[in-house]
């Protein structure tokens, strides 16, 4: 039966190639959507993990990094650094600004840092040094055709692009990095806020610990000594942001991914159905020769599995191509194809799709009348 299935595939090579291409495309759609969803969560996670520090301090009750507003009192830096085991506390803050001409405005999350928390994946230029320096994400640079040295004017204050980074985007928007000098000058020289009190000058603290200090035990000490703050490990805070992303995008992405599974199953089913239909005479001949239904059905399922097996690497390549194209043209989004969990899930989904899909046409085989062998074509 194996040889028979292989011979069928080879003989109908154009049909098989089209089938593999269509199933591969269906798999790529599933992988692409799943990868897009994973990318959203991974971006949220990386946005926290890339900042550095062994612990992150937020305003009490704030358990997210990007989407939540956290404001810490100025004196906490001294309070934290006074605790034994804490090497340094690095201030950070962030706020959204809208950038671009009217009709093409796009949110930019300005990340303000001092000694830690800046851009980690520079692909061009240098780090922020002066008050007018800004490092922007490649997605932002591409969207507004910015290059090193170009101005980025926010509320009348002109920053200059000194570096371009990759992977600094989350929640459909990109990050721009400036330092505290830049923030102060922006406030003083522009009309970005009427009052310094409305500016979240200190949002979070990235805490660097002395060598050998256990982050889990010292966080309790920090929370006890410094009032109105919460302390998280970067992994915990990142996980909170991932969960927030899952809450936000999970439902629609779930619908789309499940719909793509359904589509994949139907595509496989209908294609195999059409294929089986086209070969009804062969099945009639096999029935007349004495092949029982289960053997013929097994050969169709085997053939489907072979085709799906061939389509899988193609789907993976197409999915990879989608990821590369998106990464190149729209780096603000990330499509994660090579994720073990996601791949296994997709693989499982595809296996279920193909099995269910190959069940659809079995009815045709069951109903094929061996009498048709007496008909002359």
């Amino acid at each position: 039966m194996w040889q028979f299935a292989v011979d069928q595939i080879i003989y109908h090579r154009i049909r098989s190639a089209l089938t593999v291409a269509a199933i591969g495309a269906a798999i790529a759609v599933t992988l692409g959507l799943r990868g897009f969803e994973l990318g959203l969560y991974q971006q949220s996670r990386d946005a926290v993990l890339d900042r550095g520090g062994q612990l992150i301090m937020t305003q009490s009750g704030v358990s997210n990094f990007i989407a939540a507003r956290s404001t810490l009192p100025q004196q906490v830096r001294a309070d934290v650094e006074a605790i034994e085991g804490v090497k340094l506390a690095h201030p950070m803050t962030g706020f959204w600004v809208m950038y671009g001409p009217a009709g093409y405005r796009y949110p930019l999350l300005l990340m303000v840092y001092d000694t830690l928390g800046g851009p980690t994946h520079l692909i061009a230029g240098r780090q922020v040094q002066g008050s007018r320096d800004m490092v922007v994400d490649i997605g932002f640079a591409k969207r507004f055709a910015l290059q090193i040295g170009d101005p980025v004017v926010i509320s009348g204050y002109a920053f200059r692009v000194v570096g371009i980074t990759s992977g600094s985007a989350a929640l459909f928007s990109t990050f721009g990095f400036i330092n505290y000098d830049g923030l102060i000058d922006l406030f003083l020289e522009s009309e970005i806020a009427p009052d310094i009190s409305t500016f979240p000058l200190l949002g979070i603290m990235l805490i660097e610990l002395a060598e050998g200090v256990n982050p889990v035990s010292i966080r309790k000490i920090i929370e006890a000594r410094v009032p109105a703050v919460d302390v998280y490990t970067p992994a915990e805070l990142a996980q909170q942001d991932v969960e927030l992303g899952e809450n936000l995008f999970g439902p629609i992405m779930g619908v789309l991914v499940n719909l793509s599974y359904l589509i994949g199953m139907l595509v496989i089913g209908l294609i195999i159905y059409a294929d089986v239909n086209a070969r009804r005479r062969n099945f009639g001949v096999m029935k007349a020769l004495g092949f029982p239904y289960r053997l013929i059905a097994r050969s169709v399922i085997l053939q489907t599995l072979i085709l799906v097996g061939l389509a899988l690497p193609l789907g993976l390549c197409l999915g990879g191509l989608i990821a590369v194209v998106i990464d190149h043209y729209l780096p603000v989004y990330r499509v994660v194809i090579l994720d073990i969990g996601g791949l296994l899930q997709t693989l499982l989904g595809v296996c279920v799709m193909s099995l269910l899909g190959s069940l659809l046409p079995l009815r045709v085989i069951a109903r094929t009348d061996p009498m048709l062998v007496f008909q002359v074509e």
Binding site: A25, V62, S63, A68, I252, V255, L256, I271, E377
Partner: protein
């Protein structure tokens, strides 16, 4: 001639219908993505749209609400109220934040309403109070199920706790669910005083909104005043820009998938009637006539696919919305028109391989057994 085509398609109706069905499922994916994108974009501007203030006043330099922050000195409210043509001016305080409900966090617009701020409050309440007092919060009804919360439960924004006193309708979306709290509570939360975020201005009857906005900007220092339509357009544009590219890519993938399936179906059709095509060639039908038939066949399959798609999405959209209330699906004429264009494009692209096959059919096949 065309009767032959029609009869052939009819004889092979199962294959044709299954092919059209497969194309349809690819198109359904495109439509659902489109509908969710439009639904989400529309929900982004739900608050602005429902408030319908003639003019929106905000911090100078700010021109939208979504993901923005705006702070205006509260004394400017009095100034705005004094501008000729202003019938009513309602201030709100606003921030993007995350609130905890159930065991999860939710991204949200938090709108702080002053005591007399009913004008800027929820437009549809499904249960409980319609206006929050201090320490109280109104949340989207969708979360009642999704987060497993009920009236009287506590929720948290930052280090402030609120009692849930009301659930509102049409206020949930992925990117900006709307939570209503009192102005004072939000002021405490943000740790600002003497500021507000936006002023919703209702004009006297007969006053032109655009002229009023210009007047406000000239009479009140360092504010931006925008008409309702402009403000709406600004936010909608951001929503569109943030997702349009993803949608374009997904649509392109959907089109490729649909074309592949359509090509496959057309290929099978031609493969099945290769002998008949040879006979037609033998009796003298030129290739161009056969190409025309392939085009017609492709268009019939695409038309069927389009019909299946439309029927499916009209069934699926309310069904999905009922099953997963957290997603907003909106079918618009533009979406339907777009999928029709896509179906046409699919039919045109899918005709190329069968036409190539037709050109290669050897008339001698007609003489073979």
């Amino acid at each position: 001639m065309y009767k032959w085509l029609w009869q052939t398609l009819w004889q092979q109706k199962t294959g044709v219908l299954s092919g059209a069905g497969s194309v349809a499922v690819a198109l359904v994916l495109v439509v659902i993505m489109d509908a969710s994108f439009v639904g989400e974009s529309r929900q982004t501007i739900a608050y602005i749209e429902k408030m319908r203030a003639d003019v929106w006043v905000m911090q100078h330099g700010v021109s939208n609400m979504h993901m923005a922050s705006s702070y205006v000195w509260d004394w400017k409210l009095t100034k705005v109220r004094q501008v000729a043509g202003v019938k009513r001016a309602t201030p709100i305080l606003y921030m993007n934040s995350v609130f905890a409900a159930g065991k999860r966090n939710w991204f949200s617009y938090v709108i702080g309403l002053p005591e007399d701020g009913q004008r800027a409050g929820p437009w549809a309440v499904s249960s409980g109070k319609a206006f929050p007092a201090r320490g109280e919060i109104l949340l989207p009804q969708v979360l009642e199920k999704a987060a497993g919360i009920k009236l009287g439960d506590m929720t948290r924004i930052g280090d402030h706790s609120f009692r849930i006193v009301g659930f509102t309708r049409d206020t949930f979306s992925m990117s900006n669910s709307i939570a209503f709290v009192s102005f004072d509570d939000l002021q405490d939360l943000i740790a600002v005083s003497g500021s507000l975020s936006y002023i919703l201005v209702d004009a006297e009857e007969g006053v032109d909104a655009k002229a009023l906005a210009t007047r406000i900007e000239s009479e009140v220092d360092k504010v931006t005043a925008i008409t309702h339509e402009q403000f709406l357009a600004n936010d909608y544009q951001i929503g569109l820009l943030m997702g349009a590219e993803v949608l374009s890519i997904m649509t392109l993938i959907g089109i490729i998938l649909a074309v592949l399936i359509a090509v496959f179906t057309a290929y099978l059709q031609v493969d099945r009637c290769r002998r008949e095509l040879a006979i037609l060639k033998t009796v003298g039908f030129p290739n161009r006539t056969l190409y025309g038939m392939m085009l017609l066949q492709s268009m019939i399959i695409s038309l069927l696919a389009l019909i299946f798609t439309l029927v499916s999405v009209f069934i699926l959209t309310p069904l999905l919305t009922a099953l997963v209330p957290m997603i907003n699906l909106v079918l618009t004429e533009a979406i339907l028109l777009r999928v029709s264009y896509i179906a046409l494009l699919v039919s045109l692209l899918a005709v190329i391989p069968p036409a190539w096959m037709v050109a290669r059919v050897d008339p001698l096949t007609a003489f073979k057994v």
